[in-house]
């Protein structure tokens, strides 16, 4: 079936699944899971080098010719920290993409939206392809789009919670509110959650823990690939409406007469 590519910052992607690089039991399993997921974008954190700098690099396990790196500003609590982190990532050679996170609270890891909007505006002006992690709030998403975001990434549920898409109605309203791609970021626990996001009409799904934390991360990565594809196909196919009562799918005409 014909489908368009996911376009972010003028770059086209066939896969609509974006995956993380954290929490895997080993880096070899991470590499295998990335392969199984079919993802073309992987997100990485920016952290201090351990000194002396002799340790192995995560990039020894990511083929940067194949995968687009998406550095994130995880752990940043102000716009200033997030902007500086994005600059560091770009200077390190990780490209212009940034998964922008400005966290408001350690317990919930919910975003600080005013700071997020400010950081989005600054980085978009500086030529970054800004992908902000935000609340499932249509107004926040509209403001992020106005600030220059390349897409909006509303959470389905708190980061790492695995609770799924807790407010599908808000996600629907966000899809009607913005014209940039909508990518659900955070909250996915299993394949059906990813499928639901895609069935709603989202342009993509980003996840880390759901894959890395699964008992068999590689198998879950494959499940997520299939779920994102299935959900996308179902959305494009156009589902039937929901009705309270039954509607027969066999013709009523031509029933034999069994009356005696």
């Amino acid at each position: 079936m014909y489908d368009t590519n996911l376009v972010l910052g003028g770059k086209e992607f066939t896969s609509r699944l974006i995956v993380g690089t954290g929490k895997y039991s080993t880096l070899d399993i991470m590499r295998e899971a990335h392969e199984a997921s079919g993802a073309e974008i992987v997100t990485v954190a920016v952290r201090r080098v351990s000194l002396p700098g002799t340790g192995e690099s995560i990039l020894d396990f990511i083929d940067t010719k194949r995968f687009t790196l998406l550095p994130n500003t995880a752990g940043c609590y102000t716009a200033d920290e997030a902007v500086r982190t994005a600059y560091l990532a770009r200077e390190a050679g990780m490209g212009d993409f940034v998964k922008l996170e400005v966290i408001g609270d350690q317990r919930t890891l919910f975003p600080d939206v005013p700071e997020l909007i400010e950081a989005t505006r600054t980085l978009a002006r500086e030529g970054f392809i800004v992908m902000p992690y935000t609340n499932d709030d249509p107004i926040a998403c509209r403001k992020l789009q106005d600030a220059g975001a390349a897409c909006v990434m509303p959470l389905g549920a708190p980061i790492g919670s695995g609770l799924g898409i807790r407010n599908p109605y808000n996600i629907k309203i966000i899809l009607e509110t913005v014209t940039v791609p909508v990518i659900v970021d955070a909250g996915v626990g299993t394949a059906s959650d990813a499928a639901i996001a895609m069935e709603l009409g989202c342009d993509g799904v980003l996840m880390n823990t759901a894959i890395a934390g699964a008992q068999d991360a590689v198998a879950m990565a494959k499940a997520m690939k299939l779920a994102v594809e299935a959900g996308r196909l179902a959305f494009k196919a156009g589902r039937i409406g929901k009705k309270l009562y039954a509607t027969a799918s066999s013709p009523l005409e031509g029933l034999p007469d069994w009356t005696s």
Partner: protein, 70 residues
């Protein structure tokens, strides 16, 4: 006289006139996919050889690490 600086949160002594490039060599840090900030400002790679570290400078050396979200 040596110059006292802080690298990734740890105090360190370097020779006067040490550049960012010299520090990275001293610490055996690969240049690829690494970035440096001195006193909160990003140091462009092209200036590693010319930026000299001064007393009290705070240096951050970062690279990509495994992570998904906060």
């Amino acid at each position: 006289m040596s110059v006292q600086i802080v690298v990734n949160g740890k105090p360190m002594e370097v020779e006067p006139g040490t550049t960012v490039d010299g520090l990275l060599t001293l610490l055996n840090v690969k240049r690829e996919y690494t970035a440096v900030a001195v006193n909160r400002e990003v140091t462009p790679k092209s200036t590693y050889g010319s930026v000299t570290l001064s007393e009290g400078d705070k240096v951050e050396i970062v690279r990509p690490m495994g992570g998904g979200a906060s």
